[in-house]
């Protein structure tokens, strides 16, 4: 009998672990978790959105490396909400660039006062660069307003930053995000 109980417990634990997800913060069955992009080499001719994403992810990730566990948790929750909003059709209000930036800079930081404002500050240079390379008609914005299009791309970058940092402890040379 004890052997059977132990086996059932093991199976239950394995099932719970298997269903727990790799990047999400929640452990419950209904809690949404962050969906990380698939690994792979980038497109040889990236779109506007991919370009913004690639420009934003580096400073975001670099700044987040000094984040405490608490700050990372706050940021992960913010990014999860962002991903959900940007995944709606039409995009939720939180996905719009102005709202996104307001929410980001309003996040509280206990240890690094400039953490989230530094991430926010990197958006301007990235967008200026991408806007210069892609005139409005060449952007893959599907007739969305510029603020939503940019917000969506930046949200994707922030998701990637969290995913790449979360996965960094256990990926190997074949790993990704």
């Amino acid at each position: 009998m004890p052997k059977i109980s132990w086996s059932l417990s093991t199976v239950a634990l394995a099932f719970a672990l298997a269903c727990g997800g790799s990047s999400g913060g929640g452990g419950g069955t209904t809690a949404p978790s962050l969906t990380c992009p698939a690994a792979g080499l980038p497109d040889v001719s990236p779109s506007y959105s991919e370009t913004v994403e690639g420009l934003v992810v580096v400073p975001a990730r670099a700044n987040l490396r000094s984040a405490t566990e608490g700050e990372m948790s706050v940021f992960r929750d913010f990014v999860l909400e962002l991903q959900l909003a940007c995944g709606e059709s039409p995009a939720g209000a939180a996905c719009e660039l102005g709202a996104l930036r307001s929410e980001l800079t309003a996040l509280t930081t206990a240890d690094h006062s400039g953490l989230f404002t530094d991430i926010d500050a990197s958006f301007d240079a990235a967008l200026t660069s991408a806007h210069g390379d892609y005139p409005a008609p060449d952007r893959d914005c599907d007739d969305e307003a510029e603020g939503v299009c940019d917000g969506r791309a930046i949200a994707a970058a922030l998701v990637r930053a969290v995913c790449e940092l979360t996965d960094s402890s256990d990926d190997d040379e074949s790993g990704g995000h």
């Binding site: 980038p42 990236p46 370009t51 670099a62 990197s122 240079a125 990235a126 790449e164 990926d171 040379e173």
Partner: protein, 279 residues
Amino acid sequence: MTTAIVLGGGGSLGAFSVGVARWLLVDKGIRPDIVTGTSTGALAAVLVASGEVSLLSDLYTNVSTRDVLHQSFLGDLDVVLHGYTNSVEPLQNLIDEYLTEERRQRILDRGVKLQIAALNLQKGVVEYAGAGSNLERLKKFVLASSCQPALMPTIEIDGYDYVDGGVMQMVPVQRAVDIGATKIYAVATSAAPADRPPISRRFPNSPGTDVFNYTLRRAILLMTDQLTDDMIALQLERGVDITAIRPARTQTPDPLEFAPSEMAAMMDAGYLRARQLLP
């Protein structure tokens, strides 16, 4: 003022240069007139010259060892059998995919002087190819520039054997000066000598008995010290303004191990280092 960005070699450590380039090109808005590169810096130089730093950073955070090299399980013994230990067919495929005619034309249209360094073994001199070369020649130079002797094969171009330009010009600042640069941002991928802790005699993932691999891979890192001598000479003799950007400390000992998470970390270190040095 004629501005140059000079990107040194160092295999996977080149991710550091990518982070630096991200800061210089995007945050500082620097538009270089000249871009020179050796080895991994040659690959990066193409995308810096074309102004595609986003693609560059995505490439360096997604590429893995198998996308660059085919490492023989025979290890050191492969030198005896083939003359080198790693096949570069994957790297050649990568160059074929990303170094397109459209990209070469884009560099020309931007008016950026791109110079890729490779060593001509017969002549014993470093030679350069740029966007003005035809595409096939430029691709061969980028590949040759990345081929560290004995670790990788020699590349034949016009009847000559070429290898990594880093053997003689690890951080090709001299070339940038020769073609008119007066302000240079030179990026080396290993830390200055005082910031380098001793490393283990074995690299964790290297094949074979490792003596040969260890010695050559370690040498790759140390060749960057040539930059210091070049800088002093050029600044004193030619009055060139050179800013050297190097890691605060060496982050990984094996330049031929391409691990996405480690490369992302090096890239971030490059970004933060450049931000610190050039606020």
